[in-house]
């Protein structure tokens, strides 16, 4: 990447567990993050995403590898000398300081004069919707307001990169969704690179320009949200992001045959020559029940359970060979669902174009 603001080269970090085992939190991470990019580090608990964030902010010292920010080597710099600020998961607001003092802290540390400080704090608080709250103490604020102070405090000094460590996880769902959009808008307005850490895939897909899926200290895939969802590179990404029906088998470039012998048609794959071992992915929402779609191929299943989740029905079923499948049928197709009962056999149709083949196995 030509215009990378953050560049990690073979970053590695291992921790010793209490049992004396070594756990690789970062296992040779190469990552380039562009200027003004909103990138999300997504992964399950213990995948290394927080370690990666702390390596960038300077609270974790790397065992090997280097970190560059805006062309400068940061690897051996202490946190307070890096042009990076963090919004912490628990906000970590200073309880003995007012909202104004909290927000002014970074400016004070940077030696900004008092008049300018007051002005910039006021403008910042206005930006995050906390106008006139300078005098309040953090404990007098609601969770959402505390969140905004934490945000204001971290961006007031215009860092080159803003790190966000699961900042929305403590908020209730409604507020979280509002904040997601606000964060996205704020990032556009400020032109600061955001590195956001979350374990919530919905959040990652909603907000990011690119998503880095992490597992076991390695980046499994780094791509746009659409690519991550529609074209997962390996089975980990496929099963971690969204719900998925995965079939092991092999393909000849046109037809995929599962290990039990079920044939699945898919869009022609360029790479396949002969019968290549692969995994076929059909997303639950790609299945449909309509009988008018007779031209589409189908899989015969026995319905086991139907769960209503509001906007859709989740239908759980088994193929004749015993494989568990899940389909998501929009609630608008109530009619088709109405005829479906547990224990009944059905035909689930799919469009071959919606079948995604994963030819690389779990990244080694």
């Amino acid at each position: 990447m030509r215009d990378a603001i953050v560049r990690l080269a073979s970053a590695a970090k291992a921790f010793a567990t209490p049992e004396g085992r070594q756990v690789k939190a970062l296992d040779g991470i190469d990552l380039e993050i562009g200027r003004n990019e909103f990138i999300t580090l997504l992964g399950p608990f213990g995948c290394g995403k927080t370690t990666l964030l702390q390596a960038i902010s300077g609270f974790v010292e790397l065992d090997a590898g280097r970190i560059m920010i805006d062309g400068e080597d940061m690897t051996d710099r202490p946190p307070y000398r890096r042009p990076v600020n963090t919004v912490f998961q628990n906000y970590a607001l200073f309880p003995h300081m007012s909202v104004g003092e909290n927000t002014a802290y970074a400016l004070e540390a940077a030696g900004v004069g008092k008049t300018e400080r007051i002005e910039r704090v006021r403008a910042m608080l206005k930006m995050v919707g906390l106008e006139g709250m300078e005098g309040r103490l953090p404990r007098q604020l609601s969770g959402g307001q505390q969140q905004r102070v934490a945000l204001a405090r971290a961006i007031v000094a215009r860092p080159k990169v803003l790190l966000l460590d699961e900042p929305l996880s403590a908020l209730d769902r409604h507020l979280r969704e509002t904040m997601q959009l606000e964060l996205k808008n704020l990032q556009h307005e400020l032109g600061i690179t955001f590195i956001f850490v979350t374990h919530d895939q919905q959040e990652a897909l909603t907000m990011s320009d690119r998503v880095a899926v992490l597992a076991e200290g390695r980046i499994q895939q780094l791509d746009t949200p659409r690519q991550i969802y529609d074209h997962p590179q390996n089975t980990f990404v496929a099963s971690f992001i969204g719900a998925s029906n995965l079939f092991e088998g092999s393909s000849d470039g046109r037809t995929f045959v599962t290990s039990e012998g079920t044939a699945i048609l898919h869009a022609p794959a360029a790479a396949a020559e002969g019968r290549e071992p692969a995994v076929a992915l059909i997303r639950p929402e790609s299945f449909f029940l309509a009988s008018s779609a007779d031209t589409c191929p189908a899989i015969d299943v026995t319905v086991e359970q139907i769960v209503y989740v509001g906007s859709s029905f989740e239908v759980f079923a088994r193929t004749t060979s015993g494989r568990k499948l899940m389909a998501q049928i929009p609630a608008s197709q109530r009619g088709a669902i109405g005829q479906l009962n547990a224990g009944q056999s059905a035909r689930w149709h799919y469009d071959p174009a919606s079948v995604h083949l994963i030819t690389t196995r779990e990244a080694a």
């Binding site: 609270f59 307070y80 990076v84 963090t86 912490f88 970590a92 309880p95 003995h96 103490l137």
Partner: protein, 299 residues
């Protein structure tokens, strides 16, 4: 029995014994002291039952010269005691704060071991421990003998029976009292706040002054009060390490009761000590009241 009555009975049973104890062994003696401090000292010890403000006059300078003589030496002893107690507070603070910091960062196993070491002196007699200091500090003691033997000094240093010896002994006695409140407040300190401060570009010194110090201030204030009050009235340490030369309030009062047998004057002195402490406690309560917000949050 209805619920309210039962609650009252429970409360009475729980708080009754301690209330009774404090009433009999604290409030009543205190009352006796207050009354005694305004009574006339008997010619051969004991008291005469007539009002007599000159006990206080003798200390503060409004004594009727017919009965008592104002002597500025008492104010002097007050000031010296306050000075020594304050220096004890300062020295214990300097010793305990970094140590508490270090110990709070240790793994649990080592932490508990260190806390045990801090409380270890309580398991042995204070007097015995102070006499060990006499052995160490006296002209033919451990320090002087060692220094003489190595030829660093030619004549023994005068270490024992000085203000320095008293402060040393006081620091030694009061370290656990200072350590515990400070340790408690440092243990409670949220390290994520320290991280946040560093992250926002504040260096170690600014982080200490703006974040760590204000948030551990309740522990510092608590430890200072807990050390200052007994240090002010302490008479064992000056008696053992100060010899007859260095007089502190504690010895002065002890002497009035046991040697001079002037109980009213001794009581008046004790009342003065209490007045000083009350003023300090009041200041502490008012100051920590303002800090309550912080203390409650960091709890």
């Amino acid at each position: 029995m209805n619920i309210v009555a039962r609650r009252r009975l429970q409360l009475g049973l729980l708080l009754g014994p301690v209330t009774l104890f404090l009433l009999v062994f604290f409030l009543v003696p205190l009352g006796i002291m207050v009354v005694t401090s305004f009574l006339t000292p008997g010619l051969y010890g004991g008291v005469e039952w007539s009002f007599y403000p000159d006990n206080f006059g003798r200390i503060l300078g409004f004594a009727n010269p017919e009965f008592e003589e104002y002597d500025p030496v008492y104010i002097g002893i007050f000031l010296r005691s306050i000075r020594i107690a304050a220096m004890t507070v300062g020295a214990t603070l300097l010793v305990c704060y970094p140590a508490a910091f270090y110990i709070s960062r240790l793994p649990d196993r080592w932490k508990n071991f260190c806390l045990f070491l801090i409380t270890l002196p309580f398991f042995s007699s204070l007097i015995v421990r102070l006499f060990v200091w006499v052995m160490i500090l006296r002209p033919t003691g451990l320090v002087n003998n060692t220094l003489m033997a190595t030829g660093i000094i030619s004549a023994p240093l005068e270490m024992i029976y000085t203000d320095g010896a008293i402060i040393l002994g006081m620091v030694y006695v009061f370290i656990p009292f200072m350590f515990m409140p400070i340790y408690a407040s440092i243990e409670k300190l949220d390290w994520r706040l320290v991280q946040a401060s560093l992250d926002l570009g504040a260096g170690p010194i600014r982080t200490f002054l703006r974040i760590i110090l204000p948030l551990t201030a309740p522990g510092i204030a608590g430890g200072s009060v807990i050390v200052f009050i007994p240090a002010l009235g302490n008479f064992v340490v000056p008696a053992v390490l100060g010899g007859a030369k260095v007089m502190m309030l504690g010895n002065l009062i002890e002497g009035q009761f046991l040697s001079a047998r002037n109980w009213p004057f001794g009581s008046a002195l004790a009342m003065m000590v209490m007045a000083v402490m009350l003023v300090l406690l009041l200041a502490y309560v008012i100051l920590s009241g303002r800090r309550n917000a912080t203390a409650a949050l960091t709890a």
